[in-house]
């Protein structure tokens, strides 16, 4: 498409706080609502003898269009500004989708958190903020929305800003990295232009803040990490592992190692879209073959990396987790399934090291007996089968996980440090 850089943006927030309306408003203000949707509205409005532009109408029809599968990328929406081509994902509310957000293909670079001014911080606000943190989101733009419902009252705005700041501290999000904007997605205040209704606010509009985001850097400097999705035997070629490059570069002729299977060999050919390519970069879906590596030597859940800087295999690891839903309490010895990249491995929570106080972000209790829904904690984890996973400080793309049990996502977390096998 265009030469402007790309940004993946997540829109997060509590139910009904105005996420979808904000996405629709952004599409509308940037001229990205398909012409025929607006045209269709004009026609219907004329028939019924109504004038003026009805934003809500366009909102409804956008969703309907998308559901019919007219656009390729139904799960995402796109709009362009002067600075960026944005892909925007309106995050599902249900907790069980958290696993998908963590293991999915296009992880968000930055996020817009929508908090309704008349409702303040709510449970899903908290969950989504932690999720954003876990996903490695760098910058958060906080839209204090529905300002029209509180008569654009500055003190109401400030109260909500304070609530959100407390929440950010709780999950150790740098408050300085967050921008706060009073908005009305419905009326359009401070979305693309400074609103007259908030004379007390002199910060940027939402679109300005989006344009001011730093350009995402593809993780090409990190060592190669390519989680294996499937392993095939292709006649005439041999063993072909398939997967997506998460970080670094896969080069032909390079010696690579598969962990935890612990085999290595030289990359002979790499194919992408059925064409031979000399190398593959982050985001590329590839198949490749490796000299001397057989189909039964490697498996789904292995990670491919350079032989001289092989993927880390954990004996144990320490992680920060947030318990999202658990019917009772989690104690040491609990062994649910951890989903990290393409791996699914049963892991035992060997010890609960610290519980974090939600209001201050400080350690509330050392070695607590248990944690439960809503708690944030630092835990030590022992995989029951070999697992390749990285510290999120070093390679964030390979450092997060979802914890599932009883058909639910019970918690999500990120790796703080790995004790190597």
């Amino acid at each position: 498409m265009s030469d402007i850089p790309h940004q993946n943006l997540a829109v997060i927030g509590h139910v009904d706080h105005g996420k979808s309306t904000m996405v629709g408003r952004l599409l509308f203000e940037t001229g990205s609502v398909p012409e025929h949707v607006i045209e269709q509205y004009r026609e219907e409005a004329e028939e019924k003898g109504k004038g003026g532009f009805e934003f809500a109408y366009v909102m409804d029809n956008l969703a309907e269009e998308r559901e019919r599968g007219v656009t390729i990328d139904i799960a995402h929406q796109e709009f362009d500004t002067e600075e960026y081509n944005f892909t925007i994902v309106d995050c599902p509310g249900h907790r069980d989708f958290v696993k998908n957000m963590i293991t999915g293909a296009s992880q968000a670079d930055n996020a817009v958190l929508v908090v309704a001014a008349d409702d303040g911080v709510q449970p899903q606000t908290q969950e989504h903020v932690f999720l954003a943190r876990t996903l490695g989101i760098d910058e958060l733009i906080v839209a204090v929305n529905k300002m029209d419902l509180v008569d654009y009252d500055e003190s109401k705005y400030k109260t909500v800003v304070e609530e959100v700041k407390q929440l950010l501290q709780q999950v150790r999000f740098n408050v300085d990295d967050a921008e706060f904007i009073p908005t009305s997605a419905f009326e359009g205040d401070n979305v693309s232009e400074d609103s007259e209704n908030t004379p007390w606010y002199d910060g940027p509009s939402l679109l300005d803040a989006l344009n001011n985001l730093p350009e995402p850097q593809p993780p090409t400097d990190a060592p190669l990490r390519l989680p294996i999705q499937d392993v095939y035997t292709i006649s005439g070629i041999g063993t072909v592992p398939v997967g997506r490059v998460e970080t670094g570069i896969l080069n032909t002729g390079e010696n690579v190692s598969f962990q935890p299977s612990d085999v290595s060999g030289e990359v002979k050919t790499v194919e992408m879209h059925h064409e031979e390519v000399p190398k593959a970069e982050p985001g590329d879906n590839v198949g490749f073959n490796v000299r001397g590596v057989g189909k039964d030597d490697i498996r789904r859940g292995d990670v491919c990396g350079p032989a001289e800087e092989p993927p880390t295999v954990a004996e144990t690891f320490q992680a920060q987790v947030v318990v999202m839903q658990h019917p009772s309490v989690i104690t040491a010895g609990y062994t649910p399934v951890f989903h990290a990249h393409t791996a699914q491995v049963a892991c035992t929570i060997e010890s609960i090291d610290k519980k974090i106080d939600p209001s201050s972000g400080e350690v509330a209790e050392e070695n607590p007996d248990f944690i439960q829904s809503g708690d944030a904690a630092v835990v030590t984890v022992r995989p029951q089968k070999p697992l390749s996973i990285e510290s999120s400080n070093e390679i964030p793309e390979l450092g997060s996980f979802a914890i599932r049990d009883m058909g639910q996502t019970v918690a999500a977390g990120k790796v703080l440090s790995v004790n190597e096998r």
């Binding site: 979808s20 998308r66 390729i72 990328d73 309106d90 249900h94 998908n100 957000m101 072909v240 198949g287």
Partner: protein, 88 residues
């Protein structure tokens, strides 16, 4: 609550699998309440082609597990993953 679109990635067991037939089997395996809104294909490598069915499910259905399980059990499927999820 609204609806969620999940772009699933289905890998066939081999390049020889007939993708039209496979697509039909996936449609027939869909759990109740879910529907396929479109299916895209992408050339991967060495003759392997990935199918990307976009499935629409209610947000309150909670997660893609039932779809993943249903698709995994379909004849000719090597693996099932979820590429993207988002509210529509």
């Amino acid at each position: 609550m609204g609806k969620v679109a999940a772009k699933m990635k289905v890998m066939p067991q081999s390049p020889e699998i007939d993708l039209d037939d496979l697509q039909e089997r996936l449609e027939n395996a869909l759990p109740e309440g879910a529907k396929i809104s479109r299916v895209d294909r992408e050339d991967v490598a060495f003759g392997l082609i990935a199918l990307f069915p976009t499935v629409i499910i209610p947000d309150e259905a909670g997660g893609t597990e039932t779809i993943e399980d249903a698709f995994s059990g379909v004849d000719g499927v090597e693996s099932v993953g979820v590429d993207e999820v988002g509210r529509i």
